[in-house]
Amino acid sequence: MQNLMQHFEIIQKTPTLYALHVSIETLFNTLHHLRYQSDFITLSQLTCTDWIEEERFELGYMLTNLERNCNLMVKCFIGRDDVTVASVVTLFPQAEVMERELHEMFGVGFEGNDTLYDFALEDWQDLPPMRREFDTLAYVQSHYDFRDGRDDNLDVKEQIKIRKAAAKSAKEAQGGA
């Protein structure tokens, strides 16, 4: 770890979790270096976070070391639209399915992974569902019918106001009497 910290700007988040930010150009080479020159030989998770207000995605490659007691998260900001990232299937075979999932859920392309077919959804026509601009409630309302009598997501502020006013007036009436 000390050795790696000299090479890269690694931030320590918790005693066992480290983070490293790299640019999209150096992403593959960094992962390659870590895979073959360091202890971090396992890719255990591939995450993606949508920062829509900053117009970028944040990819996170969670690497775990040989002893399984330390995690290093290699993070990389990428654009939100028409972005292709180099696939890491050659380094980590398990990345194949993780990339397939992110491709479906966010629309991120992975160059070099030719198995980017359907993962969980079948015949999905809409936007990739995990993007922030995809509104799941609007999709539900346009595609599915609810049974009558189900009231969800109501704005209860008005009701609370009325109830509070009623309680207040009742108290006042009591105090007056």
Binding site: A120, L121, E122, D123, D126, P129, F134, T136, L137, Y139, V140, H143, Y144, D145, F146, R147, G149, R150, D152, N153
Partner: protein
């Protein structure tokens, strides 16, 4: 007038008598046999499937009521849709249901089959199962206890014995166009082949 369990039993018996007077002895016998040999298709479509092993094994032992699990739809009488259905599952559920032979019944297990339950704002679960398939009995809860499932089976037995003409498979046959339209609306071009021609030759 008695109270409690006895009153309930008496009201059931009197109701049963009035209905039985409209059925012949053979019809009564057939309905009794049907109600006490319910074969359940082993298809755990959702999380409700986790309460089915306790129901079917030694503690709750639903085999007392003649309920047994079978592996293939061709032998099954009951399809338990155990929870939320994504469109992808629903396609397979419909196909499994259509392969089952009449008489066949559906139990919707869990609140999410009734009105979406916890997943009311999820883009990938259907909210009303009876739009697509004729549900005979709903068991609510998240998740329903084995006792609730047993209660559902008992009520279904009652329904089979007393109101056999209201069974779901008859409804499905008579209103196939309605169910088919809903299925087509949800699945679009990916809908399964029509089942209608199989109705030919039936009463």
């Amino acid at each position: 007038m008695e109270e409690g369990f006895n009153a309930y039993r008496q009201s059931l018996e009197s109701e049963e008598q009035s209905i039985k007077s409209t059925q012949s002895v053979v019809e009564q016998a057939i309905a009794w046999f049907r109600a006490h040999s319910m074969f359940v298709l082993a298809y755990g479509t959702g999380c409700g499937a986790i309460e089915m092993p306790p129901t079917f094994t030694s503690r709750y032992d639903i085999e007392r009521l003649g309920v047994v699990g079978v592996a293939t739809p061709r032998q099954a009488d009951i399809l338990i849709v155990s929870g939320y259905c994504s469109p992808k599952t629903l396609k397979r559920v419909i196909r499994s249901y259509e392969q089952m032979s009449d008489p066949k019944y559906i139990i919707g297990l869990g609140s999410c089959t009734i009105n979406g339950g916890m997943y009311w704002d999820s883009y990938n679960t259907i909210k009303k199962l009876d739009d697509f398939l004729p549900v005979d009995m709903y068991v609510n809860g998240c998740m329903p206890r084995p006792e609730a499932l047993i209660e559902g089976f008992v009520k279904l037995q009652e329904k089979i014995r007393l109101n056999s003409s209201e069974a779901g498979y008859i409804k499905y046959r008579d209103n196939y166009a309605h169910y088919r339209a809903n299925q087509e609306r949800l699945f679009g071009a990916q809908v399964a082949p029509s089942y209608e021609e199989n109705f030919a030759g039936m009463n």
